[in-house]
Amino acid sequence: MQIYKMLILLMLVAAPGYAKQRQPLDLRTSPTTCIYEPADAFCEFDLNINFDTSDYDELCLEIPQHPKFTQCFNNKNRVSKRLHFQTISNITIKVVDPKAQKIVAKKTVTVGQYQQKSYRVKRRFGWSL
């Protein structure tokens, strides 16, 4: 009987916490990679960012590589942003819960320069023994 009571008590305590479990934030970014030609000085592209805020009171979008870009959203179900970049380094997109001071989603856009391998004729085949 004691065990039965304890189980009910445990269920009552755990149930509210379980109910508050959120689904992971579905952060979608595009493109995921930008490769630029050796002749170009940087990679230039429009970055599309989409995520849903319905599970949160407030969420902030932070992009450290984009000068001073921090934008917060309240009670808005769907966030859709389009940002223009000219960069030679990777872009990190973070979605932060400001109340919990926690990063709830993070994506990286990889930026790289196309390195065309070049070859020359080897002048010697082994040692001149």
Partner: protein, 281 residues
């Protein structure tokens, strides 16, 4: 000897000229190397250099280190440094440096400090096994610089080079000509090379003319004209993994008859070679 040498060179040139109409250049008969990448590697196995000098010891080479780097114009291949004036698919013209090989016959003890671990006797000399030299023979290793012309072709690769001593040892000249062909064999590359080298009288006399007091027996004075050596080389290379490859080389060199007749030389032909594994770091 000069007649044989000329015939040999003409054979190389005619064979190559006859092949020129066959095709334009492709990647055949050359080995390509990635540019701007330092290649450090080591060959481990069994190798050796037969020393044609009288009373000299053959040299064992169980470990052979390699270093190469090809930039956009410059390149380094072990001890050779080069700069390409022209590098087109069918024609490569380089300025380059390299060691003269004759000096190493006399000064292999210096190399021993780097990577040669042992030397073995090469058999009796011309006087039946008794020492020939009255004192250690001193000849310096010389370093050369010159120009080379490489003509890759679908049939073979023709190489011509002309070098001069820049180390002030003998101020002599060398001219090399070779024809090499690469075949695909058992997923590897088999390379065959025929070559000839001429060395002027300054080189020949610096290394191979007897100086007073060097030999125990009395040697009549002589001088040597330009010498013409020739060689055949066979090399096989097969990649096993990204880091390891099978490495096989064998070269047979024929010395000029006039050179072979000098008291320094005990045999007109000598071999050098290596069989083992190549590891790239």
């Amino acid at each position: 000897m000069k007649y044989i040498f000329k015939k040999f060179v003409v054979l190389i040139l005619v064979t190559f000229a006859a092949s020129l109409h066959l095709s334009v250049y492709s990647q055949d008969n050359v080995h390509l190397v990635e540019t701007n990448e330092l290649n450090l590697s080591v060959s481990v196995g069994f190798g050796g250099l037969e020393n044609p000098l009288i009373d000299a010891k053959n040299t064992l080479l169980p470990v052979i280190p390699h270093l190469s780097y090809y930039g956009d114009k410059w390149y380094i291949e072990d001890f050779s440094i080069g700069y390409s004036l022209i590098e087109e698919p069918g024609l490569i013209i380089d300025l380059f440096t390299d060691f003269n090989e004759d000096g190493f016959f006399f000064e292999l003890n210096g190399l021993e400090n780097f990577f040669i671990t042992s030397q073995i006797p090469s058999g009796p000399g011309k006087n039946g096994g008794l020492p020939s030299y009255a004192k250690p023979i001193e000849r310096k290793v010389s370093y050369l610089a010159g120009v080379s012309i490489l003509i890759p072709n679908e049939f073979a690769t023709l190489k011509f080079s002309h070098l001069r001593d820049i180390s002030g040892v003998h101020n002599g000249y060398e001219t090399h000509i070779s024809l090499s062909k690469v075949y695909s064999l058992f997923s590897g590359d088999l390379a065959l090379e025929l070559g000839a080298k001429s060395k002027d009288d300054k080189i020949a006399n610096y290394y191979y003319m007897v100086r007073p007091g060097e030999f125990l027996t009395r040697i009549s004075s002589y001088s040597i004209n330009t010498i013409y050596n020739s060689h055949m080389k066979l090399a096989y290379w097969r990649k096993i993994t990204n880091d390891w490859a099978l490495d096989l080389q064998l070269t047979r060199t024929r010395l000029d008859s006039e050179l072979a007749a000098t008291p320094f030389i005990k045999q007109q032909y000598y071999y050098s070679g290596f069989i083992g594994f190549h590891y790239r770091f």
